[in-house]
Amino acid sequence: NGDLPIFRRKSLQRFLVKRKERLTLVTPYAC
C-alpha cells in the first residue's frame, strides 16, 4: 500500500538510488 513508514521509505529510496549508481558503475554503457 502507498503509506510506507517514513523510516522505511527513506531507506528504500536510498537503496534504489545506490543500486542505480552501482549498476551504472558495473555497466556504464548499458543502452
Binding site: G2, R8, S11, L12, R14, F15, L16, K18, K20
Partner: protein, 196 residues
C-alpha cells in the same frame, strides 16, 4: 523527539562508517530500532535504517533461487512497484529496475518488512540477552533455531552478526566467512551508544 530525530538522521552515517571502515567484507548492515508497543511493556524491534554495500565478487555465488527466471521476474516486478511508489510515477523508466536482483539485495529488501517481538529472531535474542550473537558458517546458519539466520543462508550469506546497543540492535551480514573479532564489537559500542 529532537534527539530521536537526530539519531535517526545520523544512523545512516554510522552504518556506512561501520561497513566501509571494516577490514572484512560486509554485505550489509541494518539497525533494528527498539520500541515499546503497548501497556504491557512488550517491546518490538523494527526497521530503523540499513546500508547495503553488496558483494565484493558479484559472480561468486548465485543460488538456485536467483537463477530461476520466474523468481527473477517476480523480484523485478516488486522492484518496479517499489520504485514507482517512491518516485510517485507509474511505469518507472528507470533501467536499473530491469537488472537482475541478486539474492542479498532481495534479502535486504525483504528485511525492511520484518520486525521481532519480545526476543524473537536473531536480533530479538541479542537484544533480550544483551549479548552479541555471531553465526559464522553455512552449517551454523542452517542449524540455527532462528528463521532469519536460515533465510540468510538461503540467500547466500555465510556470516550473520547481531550486536545489541542501548536502543536497538546492529545486524551485519556477509557472503564471506568472517570469524568473531572484538574490533567490530568495539566499533559498534562506540558508534551506536546513543548517549554519546
Amino acid at each position: 523527539p529532537s534527539t530521536a530525530l537526530f539519531n535517526q538522521e545520523t544512523l545512516q552515517q554510522r552504518l556506512q562508517t561501520l561497513i566501509e571502515g571494516a577490514r572484512e567484507s560486509w554485505t550489509y548492515a541494518i539497525y533494528w530500532q527498539s520500541s515499546v508497543v503497548d501497556y504491557t511493556g512488550a517491546s518490538v524491534l523494527g526497521w530503523g535504517d540499513g546500508y547495503y554495500k553488496g558483494e565484493e565478487d558479484k559472480g561468486k555465488r548465485r543460488t538456485a533461487s536467483s537463477q530461476s527466471a520466474v523468481e527473477q521476474e517476480h523480484r523485478k516486478k516488486v522492484l518496479r512497484e517499489l520504485n514507482s511508489l517512491i518516485s510517485g510515477s507509474s511505469g518507472s523508466t528507470d533501467d536499473a529496475v530491469d537488472e537482475e536482483v541478486t539474492d542479498t539485495e532481495w534479502f535486504f529488501l525483504v528485511s525492511m518488512t520484518q520486525s521481532f517481538v519480545n526476543g524473537s529472531g536473531l536480533p530479538g535474542q541479542a537484544f533480550f540477552n544483551s549479548a552479541p550473537i555471531w553465526v559464522a558458517g553455512t552449517e551454523r546458519l542452517v542449524g540455527s533455531p532462528c528463521e532469519r539466520a536460515r533465510q540468510g543462508q538461503v540467500f547466500g550469506l555465510q556470516t550473520m552478526v547481531c550486536i545489541p546497543s542501548a536502543n536497538g540492535v546492529v545486524e551485519l551480514g556477509s557472503t564471506e566467512l568472517i570469524f568473531q573479532n572484538s574490533d567490530l564489537l568495539n566499533k559498534v559500542r562506540v558508534l551506536f551508544n546513543f548517549s554519546n
